[in-house]
């Protein structure tokens, strides 16, 4: 890919705060969705003539349906605590990428039409009329937010810009301004069952190829079953796991773990997608429809458990919302949480001693771990708060000898977004993606300088794709990003596996 005009930001340290540069990212817009893509999701095809009335009506509707939206619009005091917390602000210096300023793009309109002060003294409280320019400004800056929730950690009231961004995108969709990347993908899930539009036949062929690869590699026949009725476990994983690197190595890892522990499992072609972009566009109905596919697949296949593969926002939707959107799960085995994360499963098996692991097979790497934003700040693993930080690290340490964490204020709940989350993983936003990755990349560079870190592991399909694209800009090979289950796959010794091939590595 050509470098284009993107200047890779140089940060003194990961969270170094720039001086504001008003207008730095003005006018940046992802491609608009075509009318048929919008209509497929139940939205108007293009900007409706009465957009102003409809936008305000939608805003009022959302404020009545979502407490977070209503409260967060009212209670911000502009203290400034969030202003230096967004990776897009750190990477672009555009002040409208400061969380509070991003919220104010919408709050200023809310005030104008729905508050006493804004109706009668707009100049006093920064209230403004809703115009077409304002709509397009929303479209621009609400697509420079990855809904990563880092700001909500640091806000004294927990104001979550993601909630405002989602509402703004929902309002935009309601008046016919849809985003191509997200809306096209959601349409594919509704019709085909996954983001890529892979039909069952193609999917089956891909999985068969993978089975052959594993057998060539290990000498062991490891199955990747699909649509097998009566299996115990339904695995729902991001469709990127079926074809993209390094995702696919993660899928091989899950398959090996399932194989070695002897459980019966299956994928579903109907619910062949863990990702749920309905979250990104902030539309409950679409998010619910996507989730319902998983319920139907679980019922049709008669499984007892549901396990999710490595995907960040998918795990947030799965862990935090699936019970709401597609539950209750009373037809599944009550001895297991619904759903489970593949890392919860693998860590449990490791603890029970059910896997033979040779850590030295990962000795050529020094690994660090990138906490994915949605997993870190919007979900949990295991029984204890913070399990989402511990369990992935425990698994990595069980399969790798060399593990180092990045700087404290860039991991765990303070983790920095990869720069491509929230529906921004599209080439038309590449400039933003490269700049938004700067804080994370700077933290990684530091750990490379100080501890010789060579690889970064992640548990999110979007993070993996984003990093494999932007890491080369920051001086790393694109395969420096690895799946956690890729590390597991490397270390695991299957029963009957030939090992002589590996001696040379």
């Amino acid at each position: 890919m050509a470098d284009g005009d993107t200047q890779v930001p140089k940060l003194a340290y990961p969270t170094a705060t720039p001086c504001i540069k008003p207008g730095a990212m003005e006018g940046l817009q992802p491609f608009l969705a075509s009318p048929e893509h919008n209509k497929a999701l139940g939205f108007p095809g293009e900007l409706v003539p009465d957009w102003k009335e409809r936008a305000l009506a939608k805003m009022e509707e959302l404020a009545g349906k979502n407490r977070a939206f209503q409260v967060y619009l009212d209670i911000c005091v502009k203290c400034g605590a969030c202003t230096d917390k967004c990776h897009y602000f750190l990477g672009t210096a555009d002040p409208k990428n400061m969380p509070v300023a991003r919220q104010d793009l919408l709050r200023s309109v809310y005030r104008r039409y729905f508050t006493f002060a804004g109706k009668y003294f707009p100049w006093l409280v920064g209230a403004r009329d809703l115009t077409e320019d304002v709509l397009m400004e929303w479209y621009s800056y609400y697509h420079q937010c990855s809904e990563c929730r880092r700001c909500s950690v640091f806000c004294p009231y927990g104001i979550d810009t993601a909630e405002i961004t989602m509402a703004a995108r929902d309002i935009l969709d309601a008046v016919g301004i849809g985003m191509k990347y997200s809306n096209e993908i959601i349409g594919k899930v509704h019709t085909v069952g996954n983001n890529l539009g892979l039909n069952p036949k193609a999917l089956r062929a891909t999985l068969e190829d993978l089975e052959e690869d594993i057998e060539d590699d290990t000498g062991v026949s490891v199955r990747i079953p699909i649509d097998e009725k009566g299996a115990d476990i339904l695995l729902v994983t991001p469709s990127a796991d079926f074809f993209a690197e390094p995702h696919i190595d993660g899928l091989i890892g899950y398959a090996k773990v399932f194989h070695q522990t002897g459980v019966s499992w299956t994928l579903s072609s109907y619910a062949s997608e863990a990702a749920n972009f309905g979250l990104f566009i902030g539309n409950y109905e679409n998010m619910r429809l996507v989730s319902q596919r998983i319920r139907k697949a679980a019922l049709d296949l008669g499984v007892k458990r549901i396990i999710f593969g490595e995907c960040g926002h998918a795990w947030r939707v799965a862990y935090s919302f699936l019970n709401t959107l597609a539950g209750p799960w009373d037809f599944l085995d009550p001895n297991y949480p619904v759903p489970q994360h593949i890392l919860e499963f693998t860590w449990n098996e490791i603890q029970q001693g059910n896997l033979t692991l040779d850590k030295t097979r990962n000795d050529h790497m020094t690994v660090t771990f990138h906490d994915s934003c949605n997993v870190a700040r919007g979900s949990r693993m295991g029984d204890m708060p913070g399990g989402q930080f511990e369990i992935p690290r425990n698994v990595i340490k069980a399969v790798c000898n060399n593990f180092v964490d990045m700087e404290q204020d860039t991991i765990h709940e303070s983790t920095l977004c990869c720069g491509g989350g929230g529906g921004l993983l599209t080439d038309d936003l590449m400039d933003l993606r490269i700049k938004g990755a700067a804080p994370r990349m700077t933290a990684l560079q530091q750990s490379t300088e100080q501890h010789g870190v060579t690889h970064m592991a992640a548990i999110c399909a979007i993070c993996k794709t984003q990093f494999s694209k932007v890491m080369p800009k920051y001086g790393y090979d694109m395969d420096s990003i690895v799946s956690v289950h890729q590390l597991v796959s490397n270390a695991i010794i299957l029963d009957g596996q030939k090992t002589e091939d590996d001696a040379a590595e």
Binding site: N66, V71, K78, Q388
Partner: protein, 241 residues
């Protein structure tokens, strides 16, 4: 005449404050939270949430994580404000006040300075820090000016130009039983009280709503138990029919 105007203003401001805040609280309470969105790691029990909220309200935990300067100024201001309010109870409650309030009373005197200093620190940031300057509206400055002026006029009466505080007490405590006494007519107390009335009136229509609003923030007040307990909003349950 002046005393009557002030008395009526106090009644009006109190009514607006109580009705306005109650209406907002009601709105926050009846609006459903359709999804589980606690900022994680979050407590897995209700008592854990009470503790989390207590740490936010008493120590400003998240703000402390975020920015030590804002925390220092903001926390100082709010805690001093509590002491100042406690001090003022003696001037507004009829009769003798309980011993605990009497014990805390003198602290309020010095808290007045801390309060103003904290506010000035926050205000300085609105001029000095480019990011905070960018997000500040006129109302953000005016609210600070208002509370600083309340603080300064209060300190004036304590340390520079005393007012007849006994008469003030008779006036204020009389309002509870609808007896309108006579306010001292020196300028400082009149300004002080007028500003307080203004603050009461703007409370329910301004960002001061952060005080009750914090308790309704789903990212802070929700229990992290979505797998164990199904959470569904009434309007979302309708979609299942």
């Amino acid at each position: 005449m002046l005393s009557t105007i002030y008395a009526l203003l106090f009644y009006m401001a109190t009514a607006l404050l109580v009705v306005g805040v109650a209406a907002k609280i009601r709105k926050y309470a009846v609006t459903p939270a359709p999804l589980k969105i606690p900022t994680t790691p979050a407590p897995t029990t209700q008592s854990g949430v009470v503790l989390r909220m207590a740490r936010e309200v008493i120590f400003f935990e998240s703000l402390f994580k975020s920015n030590k300067w804002i925390w220092l100024f903001g926390w100082t201001f709010h805690m001093a404000l509590w002491l100042v309010i406690i001090r003022h109870l003696r001037y507004t409650i009829p009769g003798n006040t309980p011993w605990l309030l009497d014990f805390l009373q003198p602290f309020g005197k010095y808290a007045g300075f801390a309060m103003v200093l904290g506010l000035l620190g926050l205000w300085a940031r609105r001029f000095l820090v480019d990011r905070v300057r960018y997000i500040s509206n006129p109302s953000d400055h005016l609210i600070l000016a208002l509370i600083v002026a309340i603080g300064l006029s209060g300190l004036m009466m304590k340390f520079v130009a005393h007012t007849d505080v006994v008469a003030v007490k008779v006036f204020m405590s009389g309002l509870w039983t609808f007896r309108i006494g006579t306010l001292p007519s020196d300028l400082v107390i009149l300004v002080h009280l007028a500003l307080v009335i203004t603050l009461m009136i703007i409370f329910p229509i301004s960002k001061l709503l952060h005080a009750p609003g914090l308790f309704f923030s789903p990212s802070r007040n929700q229990v992290d138990n979505p797998r164990e307990q199904r959470h569904i909003a009434p309007w979302a349950a309708e979609l299942e029919k």
